[in-house]
Symmetry: C2
Subunit: 160 residues, 2 copies
DNA sequence: ACCGATATGTTATAATGTAACAGGCGCTGG
DNA sequence: CCAGCGCCTGTTACATTATAACATATCGGT
């Protein structure tokens, strides 16, 4: 999965993500409660990582009883079930493009428009696994976050 | 550079880092002031990333006038001049093993002993550059943080 | 209906990071 | 010399992100 074109049908992204989440939860016997479902939808509002407190604010406006733990617990659940990823560089969260398939998660982050794209590229994983092995290190989790310019922003001249 | 053995001569690590910092600053016309120098030494106290507030506490005990900006400014300086790296997963800072040579910085982080090792491996950089290029993405900076077990902790049975 | 496990509500606080402004120190040019 | 400028530091206040702890509620199985 790479960057979506600006005018893509984002409704389809959201519906797809929600459907995938539904079935992933059903399979794992996990409960996608209303608040968890709503948080996941909000995370998918666009392709940019969103902060916990931004989610909180939106939930509050929508009338949910909303304190920080509310959001963090929902996010923990979504993280545990592989439905969202955390972007460490931004203290923010983004919807997972491949729920179900276990994967490390590597991200391209556009410095100009803020979009995040999940990079499904085994060659990167392989290079890291090999480098780690050469150092006698056994990997349990990896975080890869690459900053730069996405295709649309490059075309738009954002880099000048 | 990989993980140092537990009983290595760490004094030599520190002296080496400080000497390298001195000469790097001299070359760049940057001022390694007493507080910056001391923060760098503290970052190098061991091979584990250290948090800004831990540094702050140590400085305070040593009698420095110490408020958060004091430490963050010193860290900013050290980051800008490539003398330390920030570990995003831990909101912490670690000494750079290769000051002078520009490099992205990739880290192996041991979940058991907390040690961090800087991975100088071009194959990883290359894999990322290629994957990014395939997605039409131009890279400006990359963050790679790999969690797992270092050789010493594996040998010690930390994984059981 | 009851029980245990899970989920949520609520309050308070911890941990990390910045803004903004004042003052000082050192260099450089007149 | 000293005036001016740039950089560095001191200080106060605050913003942002995250968690602890405990009470209450809800769900699902028996």
């Amino acid at each position: 999965m790479s960057f979506p074109v600006p005018q893509h049908d984002h409704g389809a992204c959201i519906r797809g993500a929600m459907d995938a989440a539904e079935s992933a939860c059903r399979m794992q016997g996990a409960r996608l409660t209303p608040i968890r479902r709503r948080v996941l939808e909000l995370v998918w509002e666009n392709h940019q990582p969103v902060g916990a407190y931004a989610l909180l604010e939106t939930l509050a406006k929508e009338g949910w009883s909303a304190a920080p733990p509310t959001v963090y617990r929902a996010l923990d659940f979504l993280l545990r079930h592989g439905l969202v990823h955390r972007i460490a560089l931004q203290n923010a969260f983004v919807g997972c493009s491949h729920p179900g398939e276990p994967h490390a998660g590597a991200f391209l982050l556009c410095s100009h428009c803020g979009a995040a794209a999940e990079l499904a590229d085994l060659s990167v994983d392989r290079a890291i696994a090999e480098a780690a092995a050469r150092n006698g290190f056994s990997v349990t989790r990896q975080t890869i976050e690459v900053e730069g310019l996405c295709p649309a922003c490059r075309a738009g001249g954002a880099g000048r």
